[in-house]
Amino acid sequence: MGLTLAEKILSKRAGREVRAGELVVVEVDQVMVVDSIAGSFFKRLEQLEATPRFPEKVTIVIDHVAPAANVEVAKAQKEIRAWGQRYGCRVFDVGRGICHQVLIEERLALPGGIVLGSDSHSTTYGGIGCFGSGMGATDIALAAASGRTWLRVPETVKVTFRGQLAPSATAKDAALEMVRLLTADGATYMSIEMHLVDGAESLTRSQRLTLANLTVEAGAKCGLVVPSGEILQMYDLPGWLSPDPDAVYAREVEIDLSNLTPRVAVPFYVDNVEEVEKVRGKKVDQVFVGTCTNGRLDDLHQVAEILKGRKVAPGVRLLVIPASSQVLEQATADGTLLTLLQAGATLGTPGCGPCMGRHQGVLAPGEVCVSTSNRNFRGRMGAADAEIYLASPRVAAATAVAGYITTPEALEEATYA
């Protein structure tokens, strides 16, 4: 019987064939640490009386509260810079961008590799066929000290995305639909292996990263998109990096992209997914476009396309935070930013922004926000009773213009009615 993509990657690394359920200890290519965890990470290494075994395999990204919002954070980030210098580890400082986007851009995460991150959305690397998984500070410190980690080889859920995306749908809608189908714990401890077929191969790297990003919201250990399309041009792919045709799956589901409609995850759970139609008309105070889910150039292009010649509704704040300095540069060069600013958007420093309620757009009690991010948990972006609706950049843009949750299609109708 054949192997799944996760079994292939872990077998290759373990030097023997391993199957779902086995415990393996494997070497990792990169250990990624974010600023908010760095203090715990340093403390754990001290407890271990260890230093990074392979300094070039440890990367710290200052992104979760960048630039610093208060003295505590400033102290923590100062320590990160000094520590990086001292041990020869890479540090990406304020403004470079969100950890996952930066590791992809810097090609520190590569197809067939294994990257551990101190951030749950490390599943994002799976968008290019890299085994990415999130862990806590102790596991991350152990990985830095030893160069290895222990893993239970995961069972696999196969998700087939079929067809060309419907014009009003995006990769975000496909990802939300996947989380709805699997539910928030439907893939716990598992790998989600995503197959793009019958036209879906044309999904770009950015769109694949969006799919992989959301897999952790179904509980997954990793979310691997089987490389195809532009990934084949962008990377030198190892010949073995594909699942066997007779691989064994715990479950298989299929999503038809050609008749997908815009989705929204309603408070306070990510698997609480509805059609946008269902909540259309809900008034909003803030719209946030950004994050490791949807802060890339194509996301900003989609927003600009809808905002062109329009204005953000009075009383609504539209925050746009590019995922990285590279995205920011490109969006500046091609005029996208000007369109957004002319429509009334406010721009933030590349990084995580208000996604976890720490700065740059925290919500007041009773406020409603449409966000292109990945979590709508109670109190996540600020006040305990503030509401977060997760949607695509298209829906976010239309909502910003209307002042209530809507789609670009409905906005168009309203304009010409």
Partner: protein
């Protein structure tokens, strides 16, 4: 006597410790005082060391922030009984030396405020004359917990539990 603090399904890491109260936002000495600040504001000030957390399905979903369970450990938590756990949270509990018991029937039987006694080593929970047997965590994890945590284990042996050779 220790008491039960009972929560429902899908208690996430933002419930356990909201991101704005991370140690690097408010300081190492204070972050634990915000445990469950949104969901149950009376928790941190009334929790007594040894009190048991009882939760439903998919406990600890969300962020990888180890400082969420660390806040609970700082308050004196030694064990959680839940119907099921999210992956990263489960690893974090083991890594911090908090024992994650999985026992859906026991969760259903326990009420918020119940006075209980837990024998961690034997996995026996007592409520008055009643006794509940808790299935111990997997051997691999028990081996680590025996040393206090996986950190202690690695420092002592230079390898992971179950790993044949160090390196």
């Amino acid at each position: 006597m220790p008491r039960v603090w009972k929560f429902g399904d899908a208690i996430n890491t933002d419930d356990i410790l909201p991101g704005k109260y991370a140690p690097f936002m408010v300081g190492e000495d204070r972050f634990h005082t915000y445990a469950f600040a949104h969901l149950r504001p009376d928790f941190a000030s009334n929790y007594q060391p040894g009190d048991i957390l009882v939760c439903g399905k998919n406990t600890g979903l969300g962020s990888s922030r180890e400082y969420a369970p660390e806040a609970l450990r700082k308050l004196g938590l030694k064990a959680i009984i839940a119907k099921s756990y999210a992956r990263i949270f489960y690893r974090n509990l083991v890594n911090l030396g908090i024992v994650p018991f999985e026992a859906p029937e026991v969760v259903d039987a326990l009420q918020d405020g119940d006075e209980v006694e837990l024998d961690l080593e034997q996995g026996i929970l007592r409520r008055g004359a009643e006794t509940f047997l808790l299935k111990p965590p997997p051997a691999f994890l028990l081996e680590a917990l025996k040393e206090g945590s996986i950190l202690e284990y690695y420092r002592k042996y230079g390898r992971f539990p179950g790993e044949r050779t160090g390196g």
